[in-house]
Subunit: 351 residues, 4 copies
């Protein structure tokens, strides 16, 4: 079988992770990598990995006829144009989440993908996590009956730098979007309504950029289930990633992963080490798994496990949460077109 040839656009932290994971897959070859800031460091990095082409221009990746699939790991604002170009060039696409922060933009990109007939997988890596997959299994195989309540806790060990806060799109679009996808994944149902309330409790810098650092969002699902997600930008004890689905026949709950199972008992307490520090440690295997699945779907022409539809649904929920938080009331997803229209109008009028 012919190897899948890969180009990577964006060689930041996440681009490099995908690269290293792709290198472990037998039927994959990374042909080229592009980054706006490509230089000797990136060249050395690429050389060590046998990646022949290093370039500053994403266009070089898209135009390269050898390349079968492109990993878009550049900043969010570049996703839509790159997806469109890659799709038009007939490349399969793996794109980091979110596709964009404007629903209409995202949907536009997906239209192009659909017409081009290429595969697009969105980087919701948590779907490939050993714990969350097991909880989902309990829902799918009927172990816990019909889902009644879905609870997701997701807290980062440290807030991001202010530079990032400015462009992040806010806690709902940047951080909780993973949990919105998880809510759909775990419940097996679509979200109909959200009520979001957030606050600035950690650092006033979030308020300066119109963002919050602590938030709780409640969800109503189409199948009648209720959900709640809580996010914090700073859990001093480390990355807190737990989910629970409670149903008519029981409950399935995933707690945190720790670096070891050791319990230390002293005159003070019985203690263990903190959870795995952050997403690189915690979702290491999940990142490997998602690239593996993407490559397999290309090799065997199967539908990808997280597609554009999943990407757009998570964005719709995030947008609804953002609006709910601003309006101080629950927002139904069916209201989105009207609310977006009003919001656009308001922006125009105030201009």
């Amino acid at each position: 079988m012919k190897a899948i040839k890969i180009g990577i656009i964006g060689a930041g932290r996440i681009g490099k992770i995908h690269a290293d994971n792709l290198l472990r897959l037998p039927q994959t070859e990374i042909v080229a990598v592009s980054d706006l800031f490509a230089g000797p460091d990136l060249e050395a990095w690429a050389a060590q990995r046998g990646i022949g082409i290093v370039t500053k221009s994403s266009q070089d990746i898209i135009d390269n006829p050898d390349i079968d699939a492109i990993f878009i790991c550049s900043s969010t604002d570049t996703h839509v144009p790159l997806i469109k170009q890659a799709a038009l060039a007939g490349k399969h696409i793996f794109c980091e989440k979110p596709i964009s922060m404007e629903l209409a933009q995202t949907e536009g990109a997906l239209d192009v993908v659909r017409q081009a007939g290429v595969k697009l997988q969105v980087g919701f890596n948590r779907r490939f996590d050993h714990n969350f997959k097991r909880v989902r299994e309990c829902v799918l195989d009927g172990t816990i009956g019909d889902a009644h309540i879905v609870k997701i806790t997701s807290r980062d060990p440290n807030p991001p730098h202010e530079d990032y806060i400015k462009v992040s799109g806010g806690i709902f679009m940047d951080m909780m979007i993973h949990d919105f996808d998880m809510a759909r994944y775990l419940s097996g149902s679509e979200v109909e309504e959200v009520y979001a309330h957030g606050n600035v409790l950690i650092n006033p810098v979030f308020a300066q950029h119109g963002d919050v650092d602590t938030a709780i969002v409640t969800l109503k699902f189409k199948n009648g289930a209720l959900g709640v997600i809580d996010n914090s930008r700073q859990a001093v004890y480390g990355y807190d990633q737990r989910v629970e689905v409670f149903g008519s026949k029981g409950s399935s709950a995933a707690t945190n992963d720790h670096p070891n199972t050791v319990e230390i008992s002293t005159a003070d307490s019985v203690r263990r080490d903190k959870p795995l520090h952050f997403f690189l440690e915690r979702y290491n295997e999940a990142y490997i798994e998602e690239t593996k699945m993407f490559i397999e779907c290309i090799l065997h022409d199967k539908p990808v496990p997280v597609d554009g539809y999943d990407g757009v649904q998570a964005e719709r929920i995030a947008l609804a949460a953002k609006l709910s938080s601003r309006l101080g009331r629950p927002v139904r997803l069916s209201e989105l077109p009207e609310l977006v229209r009003q919001s656009a109008q308001a922006t125009t009028e105030s201009a």
Copy 2:
């Protein structure tokens, strides 16, 4: 020191529990017990415990000049008149929760108590639970810093009988009221706003009585913290009672109590026995502790640990949750007087 003489009004399950717990306290003597359905069974029960007087009339208890303190364990609709009578008769009062289902009624009863200068303790027994006390301690002693997120899970093993559902006052006033008190207790802050959404997922009988069986309520606290409570009338694995307070310096979380610590590993799984079955098993020690504290407060003339103010606050939150659920929008507690007025008006007009 003279023994505190006690009269008990209402000898159902909870009245009998309080009686047995009081019998363990050295400086307490149960003088009389009243119950609408008093008969040979209750007389035998009382005789075994050396309780001299058994009567059908609560008035006999209130009028008995020997009695120092009264435990009101009769149905909720009798609480307000009994509190008033007991207070006017100069008796200290322990009253089961909720005081009543009408805020104005509750407040009226508390006015009489205040003027009479007697003590009134409300039966929020969970404040005396070993787990929840320890979580609160972590908040009070600064271990976890400022509270940011409060999470409470409270699920019953079985739904109540339809006869009870009819008169229960609904999930918010009957079941979640304990959690509303817990939210105030754990956060050390007052609730300002609630958003409640519930659904009927377990048994349609709840809908027939205008009630829900599954509910999630989000809370905003005065100190900026956010909260969420989830309730279910049926957790097939047993009584699920967990709380978590997440703060600026860490998190303190209580999981369930189990009847033993035994882990059984077989070819199928690693398992343990289900949590303690229901409130009698789970809060056994807490019930003992709350009566002990009440007696001590009388003996040493100290303020009771859960007073009428606590009772009324929990009822206000429950009422706001009920209205939020009905109106489909967040409700601020400050709106209550206006909403109650409107509701009264609507009832009058529709009459």
Copy 3:
């Protein structure tokens, strides 16, 4: 039904615990208590509990015709004569462990008990513990198949005072005797051989009295199972009481009880409070249960759950362990008569 009338000999810590537990049982009445050091304090204690007779003389208890059953809670050296006297006086007997430190003495006392036809229960309270009962259940009901390995960990939070070490009979007879009984209870089999090795690692005072403070004993059971017990006189993190039975179909393991289930996560670690401090906290319910069972066995003339045979078996294993430790080789229980004879001879010769 007539109440069982009780006399208590020895009003130290354990005697008082049994008294308070007996007071909770409806069909029991404590008539008298004796203690060598009886004085105003004990009189006050007894008065509060409605115990009419306080005396310095155990004879007063034994001679009292009203008394049905006697709790022997005095020092170990008094057990044998008191058991004999009580049995001859026709009283049922509850005796603290060990019956004595001389096997022949213990057997002599049991002969008298047998001839008198009274009941004798030995104070192996751990058999009534919720955790250990559950493990035993897994053995009895076949959940874990045939027992292959039995592991018992038993460590005290603090070493006893030197005054106690002198007269304790040594770690095997004083402390590990509980675990020897537990080994028989959990495995459902008799012990055939022991190999004990101990060391003085905590405090040289143990060596001064020919004792050790840390010990591991391996066991061979009649049914082929193997066992191991480890003891330490000082676990700084508190009372460590765990057991595990591993069998052909699985394993059943009890970990420690903690005062609460709270997990506290901070920047340093994830921790919980230490286990319940010592035997009074840890075996509180087990003490209640053992007295309840004893009273029930008298009331309904049933065989007691831990009888003289159980007492003597534990002592035999303890003696074998002591000899094994001294001889530096495994000792079979069948060797005991010969070894005891040799030991007596050696003592005589050296005298």
Copy 4:
């Protein structure tokens, strides 16, 4: 820096694992692989991994001047001659455990290694396990004070095939040897005496080959600590790998690793998935780590983390355990030369 060139002797399960792990290391190149049963399958396997040479002859590996280091993954009886040849050829050596089953043979091989000045690492992979490293850290950094008790549980999910039992060298040399190394590693002390008792409880086939399937071994360490190891050839719930060190200031205990953290609560029980199935799953990371360390020690000319001395010590303890089990008495390691001499003599005389 020049890549380390590797030859692998023995391409069974463990040889292939080492190969795959070596392929992940940047400065390593596998040049050749030999296996008695080399054929098309192995050639395909090697081709996929870019390994140029596949041979039936270990001599080809040893004679290959390009090769810097050899992994000896063939059957135990070949270890000693291969180590000697490799050492004389100036190759660094990684050898699977045990080096041999005859102490004198092992020591002979180590002499040659020493004279040749090459590195020899023994495959005690568990030293590189995340859990056990953490427990050792607690001993080394003083967290738990002086070690008093070391407990190791090691149970396999399934007994090996009879073909393997015949040549395994017995439970002490084949299976418990890992635990003997762990005992030294965790305690930081040498073993002075062992007492082993084993039994055949799982399958009579073990008895037919003079072996046992269940064993408990107690240890005395030079520093005064006591230890106990329990082994079973069949834990139906999976691979059971736990250790605990108890010391003067506390305890550090590692429980099993599970494939996920999910807790499933149903009407029956609260359960989780069984531990990671067997050594390949459980020690996956440890295998990677040990090869990484070996390569680093060659690259930077550092002493290997588990050397020949460690290998021989574990074998001495295993031999003492085997003799203890046969003689039915504790055996001091200092007795070994004499016991081996007697045993040889007995064999000669009976011949």
